[in-house]
Amino acid sequence: MGLKNLISSKKMLSLLAVFMLLSTNLLFAQDAASSATTGAGDAGTATGNVWIGPVYYILLFIIVCFVVAIVGKILRVFDLTQQIQGKKPMNWHNIMGVFCLIFLVAGLYGAYWEFTVQGSMILPESASAHGVKIDEMFWTTTVLTMIVFFVTQILLFTFLFRYRYSEKRRGHFLPHNNTIEKVWTIAPAIVLTILVIFGFFTWQEITNSVDAKGEPASINVDVTGHQFAWELRYPGADGKLGKTDYKLVTGLNKLGINFKDKNSFDDLQADTMVLPVRKSIRLNIHAQDVIHSVYMPHFRVQLNAVPGLPTYFKFTPTITTAEMQRKLGDPDFQYLLYCNKICGGSHYNMKKVVKVVSEAEYQAWIAQQKPYLSGALKKELQFAATKDAQQKRLALNN
């Protein structure tokens, strides 16, 4: 029986080898053919059948399947012949153990490569005062977690290799060890406590930021999100923004500014968010239709814009756009504000340029901005007074 097996398997082996050769030839041919078609595909798609390209990929896939199957069979046949000749069968435990080790080395190199190459593509230093603290926390957390990452992954995969199966050995019966368990419960608890405390105070500092009494008042800027753009409103000479009411929104008064409030008369509209450097800015965040999110990554600023729930974020830009362009060596660099909460089909294209400039430039810029209360709007307001009354009556009826 064993002899019979040997003969038949040798036959099979040669047959499979022939198959293998043929199929690799085929594979290369297919590869060349498919690359030729993809090259020609661009020109031919208008007239050609849409299925041609994908069918080649499917054929390629089927060939890969065959190759895998044939390699599998060859391994099996090889293994059986070895066994029949009285040698030991293939030790898959060793093979997998070595694979684990190879994966570890390759993975460590891959992680190193990612950290150096893609790690250099991340955001530049923070351009806001509070962002510096966030960055400090970020780097502390990164160092701590990366130590744990490398240590645990290295242990995991070296254990796998070191303690791979052997018939001669038995596992070490070790159901528990209270001391060491206490150590690795308390150690992460301490590290996390430190991170929590620092994080908590940083968070409090960033968010508990109502203007203190002695402080010079922040510059109020209203930013309102709607599908799919941002509207900006700057206060005029009085430094105050007028009240708004969503019921007053019309085609002309797109923010629903309540012009009964005198503060609103000199409110300015702007296309670009221009901010003076080293001045406290208070962004008042609104949304009209769905939730958006004001995301200004260079300043480490993000807060959702929620309809019906005005929010604000206070921060101080510290690096002007020109300075940042110089630092990055990129003359086209711009700070951006973009939407970071899914808000509909054009969510991916909802940006506003942010410019940080010197105080003098800011004053020059703001002097040129137009007020919301335009001539057309003034005309409409006469009409709005009666419309307002109508709405009130409706409300009473309800």
Partner: protein
């Protein structure tokens, strides 16, 4: 401890079940089956089907991200109006993302994972003839199946499926005018989810009552395998958390259809259309959603943890290290998971003070997770590791859990979350820690218990191939995403072409897409292996992995009632592997301590003073014999 144990009372009157087997029709055996093993298979196969569908959806949107400007005429042929001129429509892109997330989180990793392994393992590992309520069990599957069909049917309606992200935040999801997917598609999504939750509730109640009431003689809670512990706590979580989502969903239905404004206020559509809603709060929905949503990620990961613990112990030929610590950390995670939901909402406009509180609770939950990781490592240490396909997947689960868990420390920190929220960093984090880790746990379970389900073995070599390509592929896909996130690249963007600063990530996106395609193709190795082995796999022996747990004492051929005679009694914990003094390197739970005098330890008699006396006596006589020699 002994107060926890509940004695079995459901054994005696089940005895007559298998004496006179009435013939089952195809319908009662395969379709409306009430046998837990068949229901487990139904859950598994439906879950795998849904996983393949969701995977294909992800490949579609990955192609869009890699080649945002390129036209693929085939897409238009296949998808019609959803891909005009061979490019995905931006609304349909969001629909793909939404349905991919929904299917993967709920239909695959909740129902597919818990549904399969809770149904299969709870009765088999605890020594019960079936679930507490087989009928409820059947109902649970069919609710799940209906929910799946409804979810998928939304691809066939005019405006396409729900597309507000799997979190379906209103007002986007509440206003049909806000995007096409918020019309009929969202209605179907909501109906499907309500049915799904009903299914999960029925299943969860069934699991909990089975575990508490139907354990065999001797199986007290501290003798349960970690799989059962994990599935038990998962079921408790599900029962407590899922109803809250129903509440949230029902209010959303009211807002959408009956003109209420629970979640809506001060809305102006298209710049001019003032809507009548007043006084609602979109944040309320987020609270309700994440009150389920956060426990949900533990519902997803805990069964994977349990399965990995069991598989790693069996294949390291070593007891799981710190069994009690493993259980207590699961309990800790269960309890804490209810008070951390706010970390999804740090920058939503929620009161910043609450943000601080949620940050503290969130970082506390990292402690039990760390304990579990170290315990797994200690389990491997000085083991005798057999590389079965299941073992490799369990190891992959640990590796992913570490990689993804560590980035959770960044995101759980409210101050850091300001800049990372909703970026690709988050995508990378949760795809590793709950996506890849949980699916690897599930695959480990499939490879490990395949012989129990189908009586045959899967091909190990093909399993190796599947593992390595998927494992490497998943890292190649998700590792670079961290750096995109750190560069402020937001998730759920249809294309990065509109931003000069994001264009440089295009090459990375192309790379990720090809890695994803590679990993997806590798899944065919699994599918082939799975289907082929059901029919032509090598016949399994009764206990192919030399494991201790009760399911391997049942005959290979399935029979209703699981054990042909009396249900075996349990005498020991499930992890007596490589015990010194024992003949073999495993001692099944059904072997009484009296038969293994040479390997008993004083520790085995913690609650058993007479046993301890016997043990001491035996040791004494041994010692005397030694002296005589």
């Amino acid at each position: 401890m002994s107060t926890l144990s509940v004695q079995d009372h459901g054994v005696a009157h089940h005895e007559e079940d298998h004496g006179h087997h009435h013939k089952q029709s195809f319908l009662t055996k395969y379709i409306f089956s009430q046998d837990h093993k068949m229901i487990a298979k139904q859950f598994l196969i439906t879950g795998i089907t849904m996983a393949v569908i969701a995977m294909l959806l992800s490949i579609l949107f990955r192609i869009q991200l890699a080649y945002p400007e390129k036209s693929f005429p085939l897409l238009e042929t296949l998808l019609g109006r959803f891909a005009p001129n061979g490019r995905l429509d931006s609304n349909f892109y969001l629909a793909l993302v939404t349905i991919h997330g929904t299917i993967m989180v709920f239909f695959v990793l909740t129902a597919g994972l818990s549904g399969t392994f809770a149904n299969l393992l709870i009765p088999l590992q605890l020594g019960a003839r079936d679930m507490a309520s087989p009928f409820l069990n059947m109902l649970s599957y069919w609710f799940f199946f209906t929910a799946s069909v409804i979810m998928l049917s939304s691809f066939f309606i005019q405006k396409g499926p729900a597309s507000g992200g799997w979190t379906i935040y209103p007002p986007l999801s509440a206003l049909p005018k806000a995007m096409p997917g918020s019309g009929m598609g969202m209605t179907l999504w909501l109906i499907s989810m309500v049915l799904f939750i009903a299914s999960q509730l029925m299943a969860g109640i069934n699991y909990v009552s089975t575990i508490l009431n139907m354990r065999t003689k001797g199986m007290d809670l501290w003798k349960m395998p970690l799989t059962v512990w994990a599935l038990f706590l998962t079921a408790v979580l599900g029962v407590l958390a899922f109803p809250v989502l129903v509440a949230g969903v029902v209010l959303l239905v009211f807002d959408r259809s009956f003109g209420t404004s629970f979640y809506l206020s001060e809305i102006v559509l298209n710049g001019t259309q003032v809507q009548p809603y007043e006084g609602g709060s979109p944040i309320l929905f987020q609270h309700l959603f994440w009150f389920l949503g956060h426990p949900e990620v533990y519902i997803v990961i805990m069964p994977a943890m349990g399965i990995s613990s069991e598989v790693m112990s069996v294949n390291s030929r070593k007891p799981i290290f710190g069994y009690h610590a493993m259980v207590y950390s699961l309990i800790g995670i269960t309890v804490l998971s209810f008070i951390v939901w706010g970390h999804h909402m740090f920058v939503t406009g929620m009161n910043p003070f609450l943000g601080g509180v949620f940050m503290i609770t969130t970082l506390i939950i990292a402690v039990p997770s760390a304990v579990k990781t170290f315990n797994w490592l200690a389990t491997l240490w000085r083991g005798n590791i057999r590389f079965t396909a299941a073992m490799l997947f369990a190891i992959g689960m640990v590796s992913f859990f570490i990689s993804g868990g560590l980035t959770g420390i960044f995101l759980g920190n409210a101050a850091l979350d300001i800049n990372l929220h909703d970026t690709y960093f988050v995508v990378a984090h949760f795809h590793l820690v709950m996506g890849s880790a949980a699916i690897f746990g599930m695959l480990a379970g499939v490879y490990h218990w395949f012989p129990k389900m189908f009586g045959r073995l899967m091909n190990e070599k093909l399993g190796y191939l599947h593992f390595w390509i998927t494992f490497i592929g998943a890292y190649l896909v998700f590792f670079p995403m961290h750096f995109m996130g750190l560069d402020g690249v937001p998730r759920r963007y249809y294309a990065f072409t509109e931003f000069e600063s994001m264009k440089r990530w295009l090459s990375v996106n192309t790379f990720i897409t090809w890695a994803a395609i590679m990993a997806a193709v590798a899944q065919f190795a699994f599918l082939f292996n799975f289907i082929y082995s059901i029919f032509f796999g090598k016949k399994a022996t009764q206990n192919p992995w030399q494991a201790n747990t009760l399911e391997w004492t049942t005959p290979v051929e399935h029979l209703h009632g699981n054990w042909p005679g009396e249900i075996p009694t349990v005498y020991r914990w499930p992890y007596d592997y490589s015990k010194p003094g024992a003949e073999e390197d495993f001692i099944p739970q059904t072997v009484p301590l009296s038969q293994t005098m040479s390997s008993n330890l004083p520790h085995d008699f913690e609650d058993n003073p007479t046993g301890l006396q016997e043990h001491a006596k035996w040791i004494n006589t041994q010692n005397k014999n030694e002296e005589v020699k």
